[in-house]
Symmetry: C2
Subunit: 537 residues, 2 copies
């Protein structure tokens, strides 16, 4: 192992090492003031991929190259010195403040490994596919996480059609070969099903007229409904549309084994077991933690958790100067009940042992900012302010005269923590975290002197920064046939062709560069004019 010859451009600058070039890492890099730090990016992919378009890549609606942007282009446009190294992080050494990296490149083995020191580490490594240790999945299924996965799926779909067209296959063999199975009814699985159905019914039927009637698409979902994170109206619409399209949706189906011929499922309600021959499987059931993160969690004694935990400022719990953003981590939101004594004491300005409404009013904003579950709870209970909560617990008295002791205070807030939920593993969350963290890094010095965050209930003074707060902008579920469902903030649901156009405009505007924007739009136009290509490339 060699220690990297690390250039000391400006010894005063702190060295920031960023692991990963996905949504979180790229968003961080795009917004970081790179003149303030000596920035070092390490990732096995030298590009950023616009992953929401991966399902479109699987069927050639959009080309692979149109959804990627070289990370060097992105950092090249920023001032200051940033270095990118194409390598995989294999070990994070939190004690030694360094990361161990391995180049995938075909060079002499002693040159493959190197270590990089950091002052601040930003972990944005993302997650890996979760097979739930189902036997045969890794060997026989396609995944849909990387651009290469999407390209492989595309080739594989065409392969199935070519295989079914060969003269050697029996009718049964053709039916088996043209049976496409998708495991997982989340947004990715559903969008892939929709794309595949469009690809087959709009393009491949013309090219493979002999076998077009043998195609079957099955969507397996372990839960009771597909798209279960969406509004019920969207779920119902999607299930009905797929039914009309001839796509079989099997809910309540647990996959317990896959071999090279068939996929074995168990019906959750009846317990019936069946084995279905398939031509191709796409596995899209959720995400798991990468081994390097697991190893890191062991080092920092986060052994009982399944996912790396950060505080509300995206710092890794128990590990200063290390931040984690995107799918590789979750925010461990502090419970009100854990700090209830400290909140009471801080609020009880006159140290009388009881809390008046006036006293509490002074810390309300800080409480709400520090514990966002309080606001969520109030909203769900349709209460205007936290004072109403205190009022409720003391009966219908005059506001000003309310006075609570610690037990009463505890009581009034006892339900609040039930409202905590972790953020979804989406591009939107990752991008917002990257942006948030970059802004913190940009204001590190100022915030040290003039902290802008909420009161520290344990300890003195204020937190340096406002904690990270996710702003949900809505989510799309493209359903094929130029129809999309969207769930927008405020539970506003929109389904149909007009939403598809909204989808086109949002995805075009969210592109990371003008180059990819032009490419993606021209891909869409090309598809409308010429259809999708069926070459085995």
């Amino acid at each position: 192992m060699t220690n990297a010859d690390q250039p000391q451009i400006d010894s005063k600058k702190k060295r920031v090492v960023v692991l990963g070039t996905g949504w979180a890492g790229t968003s961080f890099l795009k917004n970081l003031d790179t003149t303030l730090y000596d920035v070092n990016i390490i990732s096995p992919r030298n590009y950023f991929a616009f992953t929401p378009l991966l399902p479109s890549v699987t069927c050639g609606t959009v080309e692979a190259r149109s959804v990627v942007e070289p990370i060097r282009n992105i950092i090249g446009k920023r001032k200051g010195d940033s270095t990118f190294w194409e390598a995989k992080c294999v070990k994070i050494d939190a004690k030694g403040k360094k990361v161990h990296c391995l180049s995938d490149q075909d060079v002499n083995s002693e040159l493959k490994e190197f270590t990089v020191d950091y002052d601040y580490l930003v972990i944005a490594l993302g997650a890996q596919v979760n097979t739930f240790n189902t036997p045969g999945v890794v060997e026989n299924c396609h995944f849909l996480k990387e651009v290469e996965d999407a390209q492989k799926i595309r080739r594989s779909v065409i392969d199935c059609f070519e295989r079914a067209s060969l003269p050697t296959l029996s009718e049964d063999g053709k039916v088996k070969t043209l049976h496409f199975v998708i495991v997982g009814g989340g947004p990715t699985g559903v969008e892939f099903v929709a794309q595949l159905h469009d690809f087959v019914s709009e393009d491949l039927v013309k090219v493979y007229p002999d076998v077009k009637d043998l195609v079957k698409i099955t969507l397996l979902e372990a839960g009771d409904h597909i798209l279960n994170m969406f509004d019920k109206r969207i779920t119902a619409f999607a299930e009905e549309k797929f039914h009309r399209d001839g796509i079989e949706v099997k809910t309540g189906s647990m996959v317990f084994e896959v071999n090279d011929e068939a996929i074995s499922i168990k019906d959750r309600s009846s317990g019936a077991v069946s084995s279905i021959p398939y031509g191709m499987i796409v596995w899209s059931t959720g995400i798991g933690t990468r081994p390097v993160i697991m190893d890191f969690m062991h080092q920092i004694s986060q052994t009982n958790r399944r996912v790396l935990a950060t505080d509300e400022w995206l710092r890794v719990d128990g590990c200063d100067d290390v931040y984690a953003i995107g799918d590789c981590a979750t925010i461990n939101q502090r419970k009100v009940m854990e700090d209830i004594m400290e909140i009471f004491n801080k609020a009880d300005a006159d140290k009388s042992g009881t809390l008046t409404v006036k006293e509490f009013q002074d810390v309300i904003d800080d409480v709400c900012e520090r514990y966002p579950q309080v606001e969520l709870y109030l909203k769900n209970k349709r209460l205007k302010s936290i004072v109403d909560l205190l009022k409720d617990s003391k009966g219908n008295r005059e506001r000003e005269s309310i006075e609570l002791d610690i037990e009463e205070f505890k009581n009034s807030l006892s339900e609040v923590d039930s409202q905590m939920k972790s953020l979804p593993a989406t591009a939107q969350v990752a991008a917002q975290q990257g942006l948030y963290l970059a802004r913190c890094f940009n204001r590190m010095k100022e915030a040290e002197e003039n902290p802008e965050g909420p009161l520290r209930f344990r300890g003195t003074g204020r937190h340096r920064f406002h904690p990270f707060r996710y702003k949900h902008l809505g989510q799309f579920a493209p359903l094929g046939g130029e129809q999309t469902a969207a769930q927008l903030p405020g539970d506003w649901v929109s389904i149909g062709h007009s939403t598809q156009w909204l989808w086109y405009s949002v995805y075009a505007s969210k592109q990371v560069s003008w180059r990819t924007r032009v490419l993606v739009i021209s891909d869409w136009i090309r598809r409308f004019v010429f259809g999708r290509d069926s070459s085995r490339i």
Copy 2:
């Protein structure tokens, strides 16, 4: 091995099996009247690739998908029944009139093999890379024949730049990694060198500023000059341009070994041996015969030849109903001297034993058509007609009174065969052969009754068809920096920026479909606006 269940759509129709979907096969298919035959196409590639743009694909000037068109789209547009099977022909059984095929698909092994019967077989399998059995070439070099090769080269170029950017490499290691070696100074090698130089100097220098000065490109050519099939002016221009661009052109260099670190060359004139470290090698030295063709040649006793021979009507010598077009075959032009007795006898209408000019005049057109070398010889000798040749051999007499015996006749034509040369292995030749053969197939019945070809000098009557005649339309040699050299018919040479525009328009117009035309042109525009992409995809 299973025998294909062959559909008998119309038992009267003869079954034509076409092997290959390259230039020759596709040109044949595009022009064949598919209502007349039961057509069956077999190829491991389900698409046609516009190979002259492959060097552009290596550096992302044009995308891989823009140069391919699914063969099913091409045959789908034709009337009649054509079937495509994605498989590799592994054996041609000329006696049994069938071909043995193997599917690349990942199916049960007993389903992989099948045989197909034919009435007519059209072999358009192309050629393979020729390594001249140089040790280490297959293991360490890139080739540039297939679309996948071009994609691999593209990834490999980016890999070299990423590797050179790693902190573990020494300065020497970086220099080695960024040394790109191209073996073979033919049109493909030269165009790749030009593309690579443009890619590096126009795009990569911006993205990899730290290592840009370490890049070196070397072109190795065994002969005395690069582009030696072109006019001397073009060769000189190209060599001088490359010199100006800092590309090292080593002529007279024979490669005798390649290992994973260095390429070993021998200087032909001095005999000096040297070993050059490299980062990447592209091997582009010419073509060799595929094993399946070799095996077929053994069966039909073409054992002493290196390439499959056809007659002037593209029929395989010694094998009726089998035709071979494109790079997999060469035309074995019949020599005048082989048939000199028969020509004399046929021409000597009054059987006097001597030939008068009048008698000869009657067969002149047939001789010239049957033996194109005659016209070539006359052209080179600046003679107006073959009669002048006879005249010359008898001294300066009156034309009408010339009378030759067989020895004199032989004498006068003795030099003619020296003019024979085989056709180059280009897309142009292959496409013209495909078109020619399709037209013959389309008129098979009519020509049987009313033969349209030249006199049969051996045998009676006329040949069914005019023999194939290649019409050279010129050749381009793109040299980078928006400059191209072109050698047009009549030795017209054009070099420079205007020729690049000619190149753009010719290549755009030659595209096989409107889809690929639009894609290629938009790729060119995209490159002008945004440059080439450097993502490792």
